[in-house]
Symmetry: C2
Subunit: 311 residues, 2 copies
C-alpha cells in the first residue's frame, strides 16, 4: 500500500460517511495545558468510527461477492457498522453474536436490518458460526480490526483531522483490536510532516502495551475494563504497522477513564463511550509530555447506555 | 429598535461568544417526518444561549457603569452567563442566589469569579438583596429575560441559524421567562421571508400558553416540571414582542420531555438539559403540522447534572 491507497479509500467511502466535526474547548485546553482538537467520530453514522472501515471493506468486494453478503462476529460497534454499511449498499449482512449479548446491541443491529445469528459466548463458537455462514452462503468475512480494507477505512478519520489541523504534534487514539491506531498511524505517516501517534489503553486490558514491549502479540487474561471496545487484542495485519509507526502506548486506570468520560460529557456536552475517554485520560495523566503541544484526539464513539452510567 | 439594532448587537458580541454549529440527523428527520436543524447553544460558552444576552447587556453599559459592576438574581444559567461575561470584560459580577441553591450551581458561578450573595429562597428576598447591591455598590441590574439588551443578544442565535439555513419554515424554542423566544421572534421577523416562531412549554408550567390566550401576563402556581429553566413567567418587555411575532405555543407533558431528552442524547450524542428537549418534544407531538417542513430548533443549553438523570 502507499499514499494513493489511502486517497482512493477516502474518495471511495466519502459518499457513505459523515465528515465529522473537530471540536475545541478553551476550558479543557487550560485544564490539560495544551491545544486539544477532538475529532468527533461519536457523531459518525451509527455512532462510531467503525463505519469507515466497514464501508470500505464492503466497497472493496467484487459485485459477485457483494451479492453473497458479508458476515462478521461482533457484539460491539462493528456489528452495527457492518449492518448499516451493508444496508446502504444493498448487501446482506449476517452478524454472529453471543446469545447473551445485551438486548440494546441486538436491537442496534436489527435497526439496520442485519441478520443476527446467535451462538454460545466463546470465541470458538463465534468463529465456528461465522465459518458456517461463509460456507453455506458464500458470504465474505469482515474482521473488526485485523483486515487491510478496514484499517485503511479507519485511516480516513485522521486524514480529515490532519486536513483541518495540519500542525498537530501528536494524535492519540484508544487501542483495542488495533484497527484504529494502525489506520491513524498510516494517515500520520503519509499526510503529516512529523505528527506522532500515541495509543491510550486501560491497564486492565494492556495487551497492546505488553505486545509493544515484547514484540509479539500478547493477549489479556481478564480485561475487566469499563472500556468495552478495548478488550480485544492485536492482529497480524495491524501489529506490524503499529510496531513501525506508533510512538508509544500510555496506560490508564479505570477511575481515570470514568473521570475523563464525565469531564468530556460535562464540559464539551458530547456523549462519548468509555473507550473514547481513554486517550484524553492519557493526556491528563502525562501533562508535562504534552505541554503547549497541538494534540489531536479521536473520540472514537458515542454508543453508551445512558440509563446505566458509571457516574 | 429595528433591523440595525440586531446587526449592531451581533457585531458587538461576536468576539466574546461562540458561533455554535448547526447539527442534523437523518435518523431524527425520519422519525419526525421533517428536516430538522439543531442550533447547538449547548456548545455555547458556559453551556447555554444566556451567554449572548448577558454579554450584550454588559457591553451596552457605559464605562462608568461597568466600573461599578453588575448584579442579577438567578440560580440558573443566567448566573453563570453574567459571571463569565463580566469576567471576560473585566467587570465585577454580584450574583444573588438562594442559600439552598445546589452546590453545583454555586460552584459554576465561582468558577467564573462571580461573587455570590446568599439570601432566603423567596422572590422578595432575592429582589431585596439585589436592590441592596444596587444601592450600596451602584451596580447595574441585569434581568435574565425581561431586558431589551438581553433579548437582542438572544436574537443572535436565530440570526446565525437563519444565515446558515435561510429557508427555514419555522423555528421552535423553549419558552420560560420569554427572553429567548422574544429574541428569536425579532430575528425571524427581520431576517427571514416567512419563518414562523413557535414556543414549546411544559404543561406543568404553562403560564406563557395561558398568557398568550388571555392577553395578559399569567403566572404559575406549581411549576413542577423537570425543565428547570422554564418555571419563570413572562415580563413586560418581552410579552409585547411575543404577542406580536410568535405564532403559537405548544405544550408538552413531562414524560414527553424526558423521552425526547433521551432521544437527543442517544441519537445525536449531545448533552442537552431538559428545557432544551421541550421544542423537539412539541414537534414529535404534532408531526402532521411540521410534515416535510424545514424546522429549526434551538438547543438552548446543556447544563445538567450527569450524576442525576431522569432516565
Amino acid at each position: 500500500m502507499n499514499k494513493q491507497t489511502l486517497i482512493q479509500t477516502q474518495n471511495r467511502i466519502k459518499p457513505f460517511i459523515h465528515q465529522t466535526p473537530v471540536l475545541t474547548s478553551q476550558l479543557l485546553n487550560e485544564k490539560a495545558g495544551c491545544n486539544l482538537f477532538f475529532k468527533c467520530e461519536n457523531f459518525q453514522k451509527m455512532g462510531a468510527f467503525k463505519m469507515r472501515g466497514a464501508t470500505n471493506a464492503i466497497l472493496s468486494l467484487s459485485e459477485d461477492e457483494r451479492q453473497k453478503g458479508v458476515v462478521t462476529h461482533s457484539s460491539g460497534n462493528f456489528a452495527q457498522a457492518v449492518s448499516l454499511a451493508a444496508q446502504k449498499l444493498g448487501v446482506k449482512a449476517y452478524i454472529v453474536m453471543p446469545e447473551n449479548a445485551p438486548q440494546v446491541k441486538k436491537d442496534g443491529v436489527r435497526t439496520y436490518e442485519g441478520e443476527i445469528i446467535e451462538c454460545e459466548s466463546t470465541l470458538q463458537a463465534r468463529e465456528a458460526a461465522a465459518n458456517k455462514v461463509r460456507e453455506e452462503k458464500g458470504a465474505s468475512f469482515l474482521h473488526p480490526s485485523n483486515q487491510d480494507e478496514v484499517i485503511y477505512g479507519n485511516s480516513t478519520a485522521a486524514m480529515e483531522l490532519l486536513e483541518e489541523q495540519p500542525n498537530l504534534d501528536v494524535i492519540l487514539v484508544p487501542i483495542g483490536g488495533g484497527g484504529l491506531i494502525a489506520g491513524t498511524a498510516l494517515a500520520a505517516y503519509y499526510f503529516s510532516i512529523n505528527c506522532k501517534v500515541i495509543g491510550g489503553e486501560p491497564i486492565e486490558a494492556d495487551d497492546a502495551y505488553r505486545s509493544f514491549a515484547s514484540g509479539k502479540i500478547e493477549t489479556n487474561k481478564g480485561a475487566n475494563t469499563i472500556a468495552d471496545g478495548l478488550r480485544t487484542h492485536l492482529g497480524n495485519r495491524n501489529f506490524p504497522i503499529i510496531k513501525k509507526h506508533v510512538d508509544k502506548i500510555i496506560r490508564v486506570e479505570e477511575d481515570e477513564i470514568i473521570n475523563t468520560m464525565q469531564l468530556i460529557w460535562e464540559r464539551m456536552k458530547v456523549l462519548v463511550e468509555p473507550s473514547s475517554a481513554v486517550p484524553f485520560a492519557a493526556v491528563l495523566k502525562n501533562k508535562e509530555e504534552f505541554k503547549n503541544k497541538n494534540v489531536g484526539i479521536i473520540l472514537s464513539g458515542g454508543n453508551v447506555d445512558v440509563t446505566n452510567l458509571p457516574f
